[in-house]
Amino acid sequence: MGDLSEFSLPVRLFLRAYRFRVIDPVPWAPLRVPLARARLALISSAGFVLPDQARFDESLRGGDASFREIPFDTDPSALVDTHRSESFDHEAMRRDPNLAFPLERVRELATRGRIGAVNHRHWSFMGSLTAPGRFVADSLPRLAAAAVADGVDVALFVPV
């Protein structure tokens, strides 16, 4: 299990003192179609961008609340790691971005018929957000609206 012991003492102390947000009430959207007919989108917090996209801004206080669109047919090897955190090992996900952004795996799920379709785009952001106010108030409603407009039925969120 991932646990706090992975982190340096300053990070552990920060996390122990940090006031995490609490989702209350907890929203609940039941699966509205069988997975074999569902359209799936991925949202990864691993900070990946495409070579022609702006990197996430490491200098922004509280974190960069922006998103990047990643087309469904992207070759994972094209993804560039711009996550600013030094608290985890980046090497494995740089070698195989599917580890934190499973583009190929979800395409395989669609090919097998386990899911109905892969959405034509996924989304990437950098999860190192110590002050998520703008992320919650601005970025997420726009992102969710885009997913609704695409007809996304299910979304899988992957941290790093």
């Binding site: 929203p27 917090s45 795996r105 997913a147 299910v154 899988l156 992957v158 941290p159």
Partner: protein, 92 residues
């Protein structure tokens, strides 16, 4: 902080009518933040889908997440621990 961020994002999607699963690498964060559905993974940060260049292991994690979506629960939070041993046969 990635764990909190994906939980918050999942909640916004769920409010919009989209069913979600959040993978989490720190169970205690999911317990605190309370995303609608979460799969707690026994892997360290940087390795959310288990092992690089191992499609079978990566698919096992995804299958567990999909089964969470199919769990007939009426409300959240639903927080389930991922047990890699339960998917050994499917990786073969």
């Amino acid at each position: 902080m990635c764990n909190q961020a994906v939980c918050l994002a999942a909640a916004e999607f769920e409010r919009s009518g989209i069913s979600t699963v959040a993978l989490v690498l720190l169970r205690q964060v999911a317990e605190r933040v309370r995303p609608p559905r979460a799969l707690a993974l026994p892997f360290r940060h940087g390795y959310p889908l288990d092992t690089p260049h191992d499609p079978a292991r990566q698919h096992a994690v995804l299958e567990a997440a999909l089964r969470l979506l199919e769990t007939p629960a009426a409300h959240g939070p639903l927080l389930v621990d991922y047990d890699p041993a339960a998917y050994e046969g499917e990786r073969a």
